[in-house]
Amino acid sequence: MSKSLKLYTALGVASAALMTGAYNFADRSIAPMPLDAPRLSAESVSPDMMFIAAARAQEAADAKRIGLGREALPEEIAAWDVDVRPDGSGLPEGSGSVMDGEELFVDYCAVCHGDFAEGVDNWPSLAGGDDTLADEDPVKTVGSYWPYLSTAWDYVHRSMPFGAAQTLSADETYAIVAYILYSNYLVDDDFVLTKDNFLEVEMPNADGFIVDDRPETEYGRFSEEPCMENCKDSVEITMHATILDVTPDEQAEADAAEAMEEANADTSADEQIEAMTETEEPAAESEAAAEPEAAEPAALDMALVEKGEGVFRQCKACHQVGEGATNRVGPQLNGIVGHPMGAIDGFRYSKTLEGMGEEGMVWSEENLAAFLEDPRGYVKGTKMSFNGLRKDEDIDAVIEYLKSFSQ
């Protein structure tokens, strides 16, 4: 007994439970385990021996440890270990309906992915593309390509919405995923996704993947001793990159980068804005300025402009402002404060907003504030699928920022 006890007491870091178990076991132990006994396979050992083997394994592990770090607490693991696997393990309790999902999707996702998950601009489309994988330009969406539903849940829950990750509850995530399934015609409109029916959803491309087969299909044929002389009869150019002409213009880009660099030399936004509004700067400075003309110099609160620049990050995915701003998902916003509504050149507005403009309404600060607080409430049927800014101070700041780009 004493010998096996000694073995167990050597386990300095073993848990209290293990130690108790060890004592209980050791008391009843029939024969001491020689220290140099070979490890036995699990099938052939008695529970007693397995216990000893586990304890010895623990000892072996301890011997290799350097002794740094600390044990992770269960709460910490729960906070970070949120991955969901194809078999559904990791899914929390909860549920969400297609109907709820649609509302959430319009609020949180549609700004990039479109109301019907069809994707806006270069942002990913999440729906459609059935049977296109063998086509020239496959459309890879959750419905047409993703093999596991767990991937969608996991990704939405931990990384979306873009810019506000980890803010969706489990129920909201179930609902949004349900809506994505619905937009792919994979479930009906009365469907409710839950932890329990999660694995019943069939993903169309579940069997569409094979494990990397390059060793079999490529490595042999690409390992032959290559030809060194007179390898072809003739060589013709079959395609030129310049015909497509999609390479960025380095000159223009470098100029812009330089301008940015100069503008950023003193990184405070105040100074940047000031540089932009002052007209009598030396040539080098005004070159960097985006819009050198005067912009009601007295009116701007620079601290507020700077704050507004931060708030505007939420708008940037769709709206451009400043030098070279163009219409994207939303219209460019240079000179928007005081501008007639629905009237930025070349942008296709909702009928409502166009009508408001035709009635002579302009984006006064007051109107902009009302719109930004509740876009869909202020302009029924607006195309802007943004939920609105909750804080008045954010609204004031972003308007001040937009004013700094008056024309």
Binding site: Q58, D81, D83, T151, D212, H240, A241
Partner: protein, 427 residues
């Protein structure tokens, strides 16, 4: 006027273009007697008389203004937003093999975050003896290793699948960098958490994820995790840059860059892969019949001539010419690089600047006496497994035209008589 021009380092390309013409005019005059004495020599220059900048003028030095065109560049139309996007290393303008951090390509999925060392925590959990938390200070107390490895995005050269598209080695091959990493082997950290109770390791995986909003989780088989994966905190001798995962990133030698998780925060030992977004919907390779390969982790042998190339034209006219480029393989060492000047009809072996290092960039040179006629420049890498870099057609034969990732085909530059070069495809 000159000061103005010099300030605009950007105009270097314009300068090069001008020099192409000028170079043509003095072709063959290299050894000839100068017509006029060179005022740069005969007249006392300002820099030879006055004083330069004192120490500490730039406590952390940046490249001199004349090199301001050697920068990362973005291809705007590629992605919806720069926050989730990629830019390219200016490989056309670099030499040697080590990529300076400041111009090493960036790829973010939720932007480059700022995470302090003091706020850094690394969790190891799952099928380990004891789930652990390490601080940055803890990591610095483990035995350390130094290794040079290349990191290549799986999408490098991806835009060239369907045909020659982008005009410059930076854009066609610039999703790569090569740095010397200092850090702790993942094996050491897993041992610290203990794997005596993990069971059979051969079917186990680690799931690694970052602290940013994308988390960019990836599953790595245990074999690889215990082989050469590094938890790195220094690159080229200094702290990692924010854009490369400061303070701690994962280094997965020879495997696609997406697995090199930045801002590494958690490692979970598992009995299977998570099949996360980055390993199902992305970083998988669709073949001609619509089925897709997954778990295509290794970056196969590849090379490219970095100069001359579209952004690095020949400016000196006929005569001695240095052709140079980079070669690498995720399977091990580069053993040989062949270069063709006639579009692959005839090849000659290039000179390796140094013996190939495993899973790191190798620089090659071929010095020729250029006769001023047009060239179709190609390079072809061989690695220690016997693998030879394939042509684009050979790859398409196996994979079709819908692939994006893992395009390691032979690249062709058409160098014209005036020294300018263009990205082309040849028969």
């Amino acid at each position: 006027m000159t000061a103005d021009n010099e300030k605009k380092g950007a105009s270097r390309r314009a300068f090069l273009k001008g020099a192409v013409a000028a170079g043509g005019a003095v072709a063959g005059a290299g050894m000839a007697r100068a017509a006029e004495p060179d005022p740069l020599i005969t007249e006392v220059q300002e820099w030879a008389s006055g004083l330069g900048e004192g120490v500490d003028a730039t406590p952390y030095g940046m490249p001199i203004q004349y090199e301001s065109d050697v920068i990362r560049r973005n291809v705007e139309w590629l992605t919806a937003d720069t926050i989730s996007s990629i830019n390219f290393t200016p490989i056309h303008a670099l030499d040697g093999t080590i990529t300076p951090q400041g111009c090493a390509f960036e790829r973010h999925h939720s932007g480059a975050i700022e995470l302090k060392k003091e706020d850094y925590r690394l969790m190891i959990n799952g099928l380990v003896d004891k789930p652990m938390i390490f601080t940055y200070a803890d990591l610095e107390r483990f035995p350390r290793e130094n290794h040079v490895y290349f990191c290549e995005c799986a999408a490098n050269t991806g835009m060239e699948w369907a045909g020659a598209q982008l005009n410059g080695a930076q854009f066609t091959h610039g999703m790569i960098h090569n740095m010397e990493y200092s850090g702790v082997s993942l094996r050491t950290l897993l041992t610290e958490a203990g794997m005596e109770t993990t069971g059979d390791l051969s079917d186990k995986w680690v799931y690694v994820e970052g602290a940013d909003a994308s988390s960019n989780g990836r599953s790595i088989p245990m074999d690889k995790a215990l082989d050469d994966v590094l938890v790195a905190f220094k690159a080229n001798g200094e702290a990692l840059r924010k854009e490369h995962g400061y303070p701690v990133r994962l280094v997965v030698p020879g495997w696609e860059g997406n697995m090199w998780v930045k801002w590494l925060r958690r490692i979970e030992v598992m009995d299977g892969p998570v099949e996360s977004r980055e390993e199902t919907s992305k970083y998988t390779d669709t073949l001609e019949d619509g089925t897709s390969r997954k778990w295509t982790w290794v970056m196969d042998a590849k090379s490219v001539v970095t100069s001359p190339s579209p952004q690095s034209p020949i400016t000196h006219g006929p005569g001695p010419l240095v052709i140079t480029g980079l070669a690498w393989s995720g399977q091990g060492k580069i053993t040989r690089v062949d270069v063709s000047t006639d579009g692959g009809m005839n090849w000659q072996q290039a000179r390796l600047a140094m013996e190939g290092q495993t899973k790191a960039l190798t620089r090659f040179y071929l010095e020729i006496d250029w006769d001023g006629s047009e060239m179709l420049l190609q390079s072809r890498a061989h690695d220690e497994t016997g693998y030879v870099q394939p042509t684009k057609d050979a790859l398409r034969e196996v994979r079709g035209e819908n692939s994006i990732y893992h395009n390691n085909c032979i690249q062709t530059w058409w160098v014209k008589e005036n020294g300018e070069a263009e990205n082309v495809e040849v028969s």
